[in-house]
């Protein structure tokens, strides 16, 4: 049994400790918002927060998350209204949408560490999240909008 805290809930899962966290979230905990993209940490579709860091759950074995806090897209905000989610809606960022839970989770870490990022900061932080629809300019715009939402709510 592995003990985890996922989206503020203490849980125990009966899985091989070598199982990727992604499959524990999707197949055992019924949290399918986190996507499988490449399986080798190259695309960013599977990003979740582990102790506040934007880890790639496809290569993160569940044993690394034991007794630690995991946040998925489902738990980022209670009503799906995290400033990044609000901005994503306002700018209408996604096209096919497949990569965007990973994009949003990465953007949330950026804004937590740098509340007022420049275009360059955004490019550095988001360089590991691939979007095959090419929504990069809207992603950048939405992160600036999220920074503004953050400012106005504090």
């Amino acid at each position: 049994m592995i003990s985890l805290n996922v989206n503020e809930k203490d849980l125990q899962v009966d899985v091989d400790p070598e199982t990727p966290l992604l499959w524990v979230l999707r197949d055992h905990l019924d949290l399918p918002g986190t996507k499988y993209g490449c399986g080798v940490a190259q695309c960013g579709a599977c990003v979740v927060h582990l102790e506040g860091e934007a880890v790639r759950s496809c290569v993160t074995k569940v044993k690394r998350a034991e007794n630690k806090k995991v946040v998925t897209i489902e738990g980022l905000a209670e009503n799906n209204d995290h400033p990044v989610q609000q901005a994503w809606t306002e700018v209408d960022v996604p096209q096919c949408g497949y990569c965007h839970s990973g994009q949003i989770m990465s953007a949330a870490v950026l804004l937590k560490e740098n509340p007022n990022p420049t275009d360059e900061d955004i490019d550095l932080a988001m360089a590991g999240n691939i979007c095959r629809c090419g929504t990069y300019s809207r992603i950048r715009k939405a992160i600036h909008v999220a920074a503004e939402i953050n400012k106005s709510s504090t």
Binding site: V47, E53, V55, T60, K61, R64, V109, D121, A127, G128
Partner: protein
Amino acid sequence: MNPFKPKNQGKILSTVGGVFLILLVVGISVGMSEKNFSTEDYIELSSLKKDSVVSKEAFKKVYSVLMHPRCMNCHPSGDIPLQGDDSHLHGMSPQRGEDGKGVYAMKCANCHQNENTPGIHAPPGNPEWHLPPADMKMIFQGRTANELAKQLIDKSKNGNKSIKDLIAHAEDTLVKAGWHPAEGLSLPPMSHKEFKEAWVTWLKTGAYAPDNSE
């Protein structure tokens, strides 16, 4: 009390001794300042057998390992690590960051786990995975053997490591990770044991830098 002993003989002798000691220390400091050695390093080295021929030969082996992609890829000349046996710029352009552990959502440990991830092109792993920090970049890429040898023993460029620290560094977990590459990546040109022997020999025989013509 000895009536034949001058009154201040003890003081005079200790003063002379003290001055001699100061001169010795100053002499050592001046002599070694060029290479940024401390007096402690000098004493450590002076008790060793200096041999420039043996030392330079040992460094040639050390250099062949340090310039191998398993070592050099994390000692780049820029702020993006290198990748693969052809040492190309790391895909996704992760940045060094202040502490050498990346920035924002692009930190090394977000992909690099405590151990290698199985599969070709999957991330290699180690609990300490990182680049040298921004204020001590320890660049290997592009350095000649002469430049790298001098840099390695220069405390202002090696993380303030003494010769003793450098010897111990051969057993560093991240240094040794070079001999546990991820799938599809080549090993350094000699075993860790042979590398360590050459490293220690180089340091203990005087840490001489090969000439640029060598």
